[in-house]
Symmetry: C2
Subunit: 127 residues, 2 copies
DNA sequence: ACAGTTACTTGCAAAATGCAAGTCTCGAAG
DNA sequence: CTTCGAGACTTGCATTTTGCAAGTAACTGT
């Protein structure tokens, strides 16, 4: 009897390689910048749009949806009329810090002209 | 007198943020998979095309060109008629190892079903 | 009643990606 | 010779993703 491939895995990911999987989740020009902003203590839609790279609002809305679906961020209601949300990293999302740190260090060594932001001492997580 | 902004920096990069710069260099679905393959001791065009994710050949050619232009990889002639090249990481490229390691570890913790490849003991670098 | 704020959504043009097929150079087989 | 096949790309075009501008919706403050 053939085992039915129930797996959403193959639908979501190109291969079982961990690098490929990570890229399928956040391998594009914008996703990690949203994550970066969360690490810089930004939490609201408007704050993300104000970052210097100028993310288009439709892309931002899409990325927030995907990141929430992936369990990397969480939407938290902060006002009920009209309903408004803040976005926070989950612990899964907070673990991306190591990737961002590795990127920052590489850029500091190898890309002339980068200016690294202050590191936020304690990060708020919502699971 | 206004200083003329000679800087290719602003043409190449969206902002001075190190994360944004790294993403401008390798923030897409394929670039880091080519880098991964180099870390797995693959060096020829044909080897890259055979990886399980199935990179389209036009994309591969384009990424190799960009990575070479960015000083992350180096083309090395291994046969002269017809001229054939192998691609090697430069030391700048080899420093991306920390980013890949961080990604691998995140995936091992947070993505069910990934299968990590063996790590190649000593990596050949060509500067 | 009306302007302003926040958080999106929609429509469409432009760019990037993906697939198949084609090219070019040479080495070896017949 | 002539053809065949391998390796490394390139080209053409369809599909998908991105980017920009404008629009919408639910309030709040004046």
């Amino acid at each position: 009897m053939k085992k039915k491939s129930n797996s959403t895995f193959t639908e979501e990911f190109r291969s079982t390689c961990p690098i490929a999987c990570v890229l399928d989740i956040l391998g594009d020009k914008w996703t990690l910048l949203v994550i970066r902003d969360l690490f810089l203590d930004k939490h609201r839609y408007g704050e993300f749009t104000q970052s210097s790279e100028g993310i288009p609002t439709n892309i931002l809305a899409d990325r927030l949806k995907r990141l929430e679906a992936a369990g990397i961020i969480k939407k938290v209601l902060y006002q009920s009329s009209p309903p408004r949300f803040e976005y926070y990293l989950t612990s899964k999302g907070a673990d991306l810090g190591k990737i961002l740190t590795a990127m920052r260090q590489w850029a500091e060594h190898h890309v002339q002209g980068v200016i690294s932001p202050e590191i936020i001492p304690k990060l708020e997580i919502r699971d």
